[in-house]
């Protein structure tokens, strides 16, 4: 099992209070443990490790368990990745298989670059 669904913080994240401007708050909405969800989580994890090591937080929301949360972030498609910080809020939908598009979507240019 790739996703630890109830886990709020990923192991690689740093406490956000220290670097509030720099940290990436990411929330991944999925609907159940489908292969697509699992792939999306794996892709996200890999990209974050490569580009945002130590400066990210991933929260996974399973809508099957928490359907009421879909409304707040205007979720339609799953999987949806929401970049809550830094602002503005960005949304990336799909299984995140196209790394290039994900990086553009998250506004991350090159490995290690911190904007």
């Amino acid at each position: 099992m790739e996703i630890e669904a109830t886990k709020r913080l990923d192991a690689g994240a740093q406490p956000c209070v220290d670097q509030p401007d720099d940290v990436h708050l990411l929330r991944l909405y999925v609907a159940g443990q489908t292969p697509r969800s699992i792939a999306a989580f794996a892709n996200l994890k890999r990209l974050c490790e490569e580009h945002l090591a130590g400066r990210y937080q991933i929260e996974v929301v399973d809508l099957i368990q928490n359907p009421q949360l879909a409304r707040g972030d205007q979720i339609l498609a799953v999987p949806t990745l929401v970049r809550r910080l830094p602002e503005p809020v960005r949304k990336i939908i799909g299984d995140l298989s196209n790394s290039e598009r994900v990086l553009v979507g998250l506004d991350i240019r090159s490995p290690g670059d911190s904007r």
């Binding site: 609907a31 697509r36 359907p67 205007q74 339609l76 498609a77 990336i92 298989s97």
Partner: protein, 564 residues
């Protein structure tokens, strides 16, 4: 086989034309151009469901936010916040902003399903509206996924057993821009808003209703402060019951012309005539009479304002204001050009439904011709008349005939649908115009066939006896002249008679006198002759006596006494 269960929409007229409403547990596609009332129709469906049929509903909006929506329908008297608080209604605004969304790889719309499913479950919704789901096509670029997911969504809605309305924008040559009709195949309703000669008309058509009979006509509908209402083209046929009760026309002598009893209740009366012939006054009398009986009257005005009518009618001694104040009389005034014909009809229909009058006056229906063709007006009036007859409401319509010569034809060819037709004519002679009235037809009664002159006096309409001379009806001063002449003739007649009587008297007197004279003369002569005869006899006696005496004295032998 069981008939298709239907869910009432509670929208005036719609449930009638569909035989009960929308197909229960199935999605219905509601399509139409911008601003044609799709959102309003669908919100009415939900609000009515929540308030009248105890069926909570979910409104998923892809365009307007919940606040905007609540504001927009507040003017119709829909209190969305209260319904939401009571858990009768749930609004969910789905915002899809393409600029905020990046698509990478495979996805599905399970999020939407979960969201909708959660909304349905949280209030136990039986009704769902998706308005307008086509917005998704603007927000998401992968059409293949989108189409597959929509197909799945409609299937899913069916499985959930909710009665759903899905709205869609009208496309070029297609019912919806994105071809939603492909997915929703149970019922398709088309709303249309068209402008013809600067007058807009809303229409509704049921394109498809699988498993159910439905009217295929275009039904006009209107949106006003009471919500949405569809005018049912109730094909009532001619099954209405005919009442034999009679009601007064408000003019005594007119009642006399109609067998002394007036119109039939529930009949339709047409009063036609040229401008200024007194049509409105006859109509006002009728309304006044109804109110006097304590019945409700509804008056549709297409040319004058209620204030104007009240003032004008006061001048002929009819106080309509009193009835307005007592709630028995209601006016509805609208310029014909304000709406299209169907809108007028819908408005009239709605007013009738709400006020439930026992008589209806429309003054004048001919002015509707300014907004529609003759055929349309005829069809519309037929529908109105049918509706009124079905309810037993008596209707009086006035119609302006054009031109100087009144032929027996109205501009609106509605004469065939009316029961009683009063024709007002102007009688022109001796340099003046006078008003005349006659009953052209009146079904089911032996009506008078005379032309009556009528006057507008300070105490109402007065019908006078017809004055027929030299093959024409005399009216106005000609009538007065004629009356004077007749009076003069009568006077001289009397004198002539008197004279003759006097002559006779004189003759008789002369005769009597002569007779008396003759008698005098006769009596005189008679007396004379009688005395002469007496003397003659006396003399004869004396002569005989003398002879006897002589004989005695001569001592003759023979007794002369035995002779003779």
């Amino acid at each position: 086989m069981e008939s298709l269960p239907k869910t009432p929409t509670g929208i005036e007229g719609f449930d009638e034309i569909t035989g009960g409403g929308l197909p229960t547990g199935r999605p219905t596609l509601l399509c139409g151009g911008a601003g044609c009332g799709k959102t309003l129709f669908s919100i009415s469906f939900l609000v009515n469901g929540a308030t009248q049929y105890d069926e909570p509903g979910v409104f998923m909006s892809f365009e307007e936010s919940s606040d905007e929506l609540a504001q927009n329908v507040a003017s119709l008297g829909y209190d969305l916040p209260q319904l939401i608080k009571d858990k009768k209604l749930l609004l969910d605004h789905v915002r899809v902003e393409r600029s905020e969304i990046e698509e990478t790889g495979d996805y599905d719309l399970e999020g939407l399903f979960i969201r909708l499913g959660f909304a349905i479950d949280s209030i136990g919704a039986r009704r769902v509206v998706l308005d307008t789901i086509e917005s998704l096509f603007a927000g998401l670029s992968n059409q293949t996924i989108l189409r597959a997911e929509l197909r799945r969504l409609f299937r899913w809605l069916k499985d959930r057993g909710v009665t759903a309305v899905i709205t869609g924008e009208r496309g070029d040559g297609t019912l919806t821009r994105q071809g939603l009709e492909e997915y929703v195949s149970d019922a398709v309703i088309l709303l249309d808003h068209r402008v013809n000669e600067q007058i807009s008309t809303r229409r509704l058509r049921i394109v498809k209703y699988r498993g159910s009979a439905h009217g295929t006509n275009e039904y006009p509908f209107l949106i006003d402060e009471g919500g949405i209402a569809i005018l049912p083209l109730t094909s009532l046929g001619l099954s209405h019951a005919a009442a034999s009760e009679r009601i007064s026309s408000g003019i005594e002598r007119l009642d006399t012309m109609l067998e002394g009893k007036g119109y039939y209740r529930g009949s339709t009366i047409l009063v036609s005539g040229t401008a200024g012939a007194g049509k409105s006054s006859i109509a006002a009398h009728f309304a006044d009479a109804a109110c006097r009986r304590g019945e409700r009257a509804l008056v549709f005005l297409f040319e004058e304002s209620p204030g104007q009518v009240v003032r004008n009618m006061r001048s002929i001694g009819i106080d309509l204001q009193e009835w307005v104040d007592r709630g028995l009389l209601r006016f509805y005034a609208a310029r014909p050009s304000l709406y299209g014909l169907e809108m007028h009809l819908s408005q009239m229909h709605r007013m009738i439904e709400r006020f439930r009058p026992s008589i209806v006056v429309a003054d004048p229906v001919s002015s509707l011709l300014t907004v529609a063709t003759e055929a349309d007006v005829q069809a519309t009036m037929t529908r109105l008349v049918d509706h009124l007859k079905a309810q037993g409401t008596t209707a009086l319509m006035t119609s302006l005939t054009r031109g100087k010569i009144e032929d027996e034809r109205t501009d609106i060819a509605i004469s065939s649908i009316v029961d009683t037709w009063l024709l007002l004519v102007t009688l022109e002679s001796s340099g003046e115009r006078n008003r005349g009235l006659y009953v052209l037809k009146s079904r089911g009664m032996a009506h008078s066939n005379q032309i009556r002159e009528f006057l507008l006096t300070s105490h109402g309409v007065e019908l006078l006896d017809a004055y027929i001379g030299a093959g024409t009806v005399l009216a106005g001063s000609a009538r007065l002249t004629r009356e004077a002449e007749d009076r003069a003739a009568a006077v001289s007649n009397d004198q002539e008679l008197e004279r003759k009587e006097r002559t006779l008297e004189r003759l008789r007197a002369a005769f009597e006198a002569e007779l008396a004279a003759l008698r005098g003369k006769f009596e005189a002569e008679q007396a004379e002759l009688a005395s002469a005869i007496g003397q003659h006899r006396a003399r004869q006696k004396r002569l005989r006596d003398d002879r006897v005496d002589m004989a005695k004295s001569r001592r003759a032998d023979n007794e002369p006494a035995e002779r003779r």
